[in-house]
């Protein structure tokens, strides 16, 4: 005798929860510090059905599954070690990715090819080469790919509002104070614990021995965390820098542009070196420019570690872009998944933004100024700089 076909009340929905057919089915890849926060935001939405987690660490994987099962009161959340198994599930509409940065491009491109929409933690790219490939994958398959800096729109109102309103005039320069690039890692080998798939944690990164300080997910960038090291992160420059550069570039309305050049200024007079980007419209973005060198400007706005300098002649303004939907940047993403609109931090805008810090890192490393050819996505006349467009990639993980 066939079992009766049962439709649950959860599947049908109610006054506050849409029916299952109208919910966006989501899985999370990389479910540690930032991933758990992203998971919480999506899990709290009535228009999302969260069905799977993936992490190479057992404890984070188990915790992530536990949060989902606890929310829904069942044991249904699937848990994967290998992201490819999660992407192979056809019931999943979208994924959020919060792995270390060296996985971002490969996973995003794979998700697009699988027909998934993607919410990707910042910094979206680890290298300059990755960005165009990620944009191409998103555009090719018509995917919604949102970058994941919630601070860009929300934390820098003090500079965004007067810049977009035109009250301080035409913006000429921006100063950003944030830490520098990542560093090499030479930590010793330690016995690999059984609760991590080390080979999969490394993935495309060069092989290095396990050490807990190499892969710790804490937010420090001075050593003892993956955010500190060259193979997995751009350091503070791209980690917090994704927020600061994101806010500054948004305030200056430069998100559609990429820098035309980067100037390296050697250490001088007791002050360390600093670097300046120049955008095609003439706006300069300085990284850690020593305070005494800052020229007086008629109008200066401060947003934490960012200062914008304008000419002080009021001009016609325009409205500040806003998130779509409800619920901040997460709501923006979900709304765009439904409507197929471009999200606030569309992957192309995110890539443009991150191009600046990546260029800065290369200028610091080579200790010289460089010119960027956006159409070719290469530095002009500098072979060594072009050799730094990408990191080493370990087989079989290819872009």
């Amino acid at each position: 005798m066939a079992a009766p076909y049962v439709i649950t009340s959860k599947a049908l929905g109610n006054a506050t929860t849409p029916p299952a057919s109208d919910r966006i089915v989501i899985g999370g890849i990389g479910i540690g510090n930032m991933g758990s926060g992203d998971q919480g935001a999506f899990l709290g939405r009535s228009d999302v059905q969260y069905v799977a987690v993936c992490d190479v660490r057992r404890n984070w994987r188990d915790d992530g599954k536990g949060r989902v099962d606890g929310k829904y009161g069942n044991k249904d959340c699937a848990a994967y070690v290998d992201f490819r198994e999660l992407l192979a599930r056809d019931d999943i509409d979208a994924v959020h990715i919060a792995t270390p940065d060296h996985w971002h491009a490969i996973m995003t491109i794979a998700a697009c090819r699988a027909g998934k929409d993607v919410y990707l933690q910042k910094p979206e790219t680890l290298t300059l080469r990755e960005g165009p490939l990620m944009i191409a994958a998103a555009r090719r398959y018509g995917r919604v790919v949102s970058g994941g800096s919630q601070r860009v729109l929300e934390d820098y109102r003090d500079i965004v509002n007067p810049s977009w309103s035109g009250e301080i005039g035409t913006l000429k320069a921006v100063d950003i104070s944030v830490g520098g690039p990542s560093m090499p890692c030479y930590l010793p080998a330690v016995a690999t614990p059984p609760d991590i798939d080390w080979d999969l944690w490394l993935g495309p990164a060069p092989w290095e021995p396990y050490n807990p300080g190499r892969c710790d997910g804490n937010f420090g960038t001075g050593g003892g965390s993956w955010r500190s090291y060259l193979d997995y992160s751009g350091g503070s420059l791209t980690d917090w820098g994704a927020h600061h550069f994101g806010g500054a570039i948004f305030a200056a309305d430069l998100r559609e542009l990429q820098p035309a050049s980067v100037a390296f200024h050697p250490a001088s007079g007791g002050a360390g070196p600093y670097v300046s980007l120049t955008y095609p419209n003439g706006v300069a973005v300085h990284h850690n420019r020593p305070q005494p060198l800052r020229p007086e400007r008629p109008s200066v706005a401060h947003g934490g570690d960012i200062q914008v300098h304008a000419d002080g002649t009021p001009r016609e303004g325009k409205p500040v872009p806003v998130y779509k939907g409800e619920g901040g940047i997460y709501g923006d993403f979900i709304d765009c998944v439904k409507t197929r609109a471009k999200p606030f931090r569309d992957i192309e805008l995110a890539v443009n933004t991150m191009t600046g810090p990546h260029m800065i890192a290369i200028a610091y490393r080579l200790e010289r100024s460089l010119t960027w050819d956006r159409s070719a996505q290469r530095f002009t006349g500098d072979d060594e700089a072009n050799r730094l467009l990408d990191r080493a990639r370990r087989e079989p993980w290819i872009l």
Binding site: G115, A189, D383, E384
Partner: protein, 242 residues
């Protein structure tokens, strides 16, 4: 001011005996020399000579990895033989490849092509990827021949042909008989070829690919991937018709 080569003697001795966990402060001197070698052929040559000796010697994996990182930035044809010798070494192949991929000289391409015919498994995927990243059109035929073999290697070959996007690569992809996961790789590569043809103004070639993919998917795609491919093909057809 000329770089003081004598100042590198002690750091290079330390590098020869280095392993993970050892004091790495001496790297700063060598890093600085590599940066200073920009426009200084003499210094670059001296560094390459010393690096090459370390690659050929019985040094640790950590030492070889560091050397490959430096040669990725400053290596020339002089370093190709020492790097090429590591391509068949499972531990060091990816770092040697990293350096060779960036040496924009025929000697480096030839070394990667030669290794492609020798190595197997994941290492072969590495060679395929590096040759594609270099835009090495001479490897199209060899890579095309891999479409019919092991599925994982065939998927990497398909991706590489999509990157290279020549008419020959597109023809090989069209003739492929993909199965399983490789099917998605072949379709993606064919879409990449079509985009490249469109960018070059060859609408006819692009349209042919988009039409073929569109027909293969049909009007009732069943999965997310099939729907996304259909979107790609339909958009491509519109672009090719404009």
């Amino acid at each position: 001011m000329a770089f003081d080569l004598n100042s590198l003697d002690a750091p290079f001795i330390a590098l020869a005996g280095f392993d993970w966990g050892a004091d790495a402060d001496f790297f700063k001197s060598i890093d600085a020399a590599a940066v200073a070698a920009h426009g200084d052929a003499s210094l670059r040559g001296e560094l390459e000579k010393r690096f090459g000796a370390l690659l050929a010697g019985s040094t640790s994996r950590a030492t070889k990895e560091y050397v490959c990182r430096k040669l990725a930035m400053i290596g020339t044809a002089v370093s190709v033989p020492a790097l090429a010798a590591l391509l068949t070494d499972a531990d060091n192949s990816h770092m040697a490849r990293f350096a060779l991929e960036r040496i924009d000289l025929p000697e480096a391409a030839a070394a990667l092509r030669k290794a492609l015919g020798v190595v197997e498994g994941s290492l072969k995927i590495g060679m395929i990827s590096s040759l594609a990243s270099r835009g090495d059109l001479q490897s199209v035929a060899a890579i095309s021949n891999l479409l019919g073999g092991d599925a994982t290697i065939a998927a990497a070959a398909a991706a590489a042909l999509g990157t290279l996007s020549t008419p020959e690569a597109a023809a090989a992809l069209a003739a492929a008989k993909p199965a399983g996961d490789m099917a998605a790789a072949v379709v993606d590569a064919r879409l990449a070829c079509a985009e490249a043809f469109l960018a070059k103004g060859d609408r006819k070639a692009a349209k042919a690919i988009y039409s073929s993919i569109s027909a293969s998917i049909g009007d009732a795609p069943k999965t997310h991937r099939e729907r996304a491919v259909r979107v790609a093909a339909k958009r491509g057809l519109l672009a090719a018709a404009e």
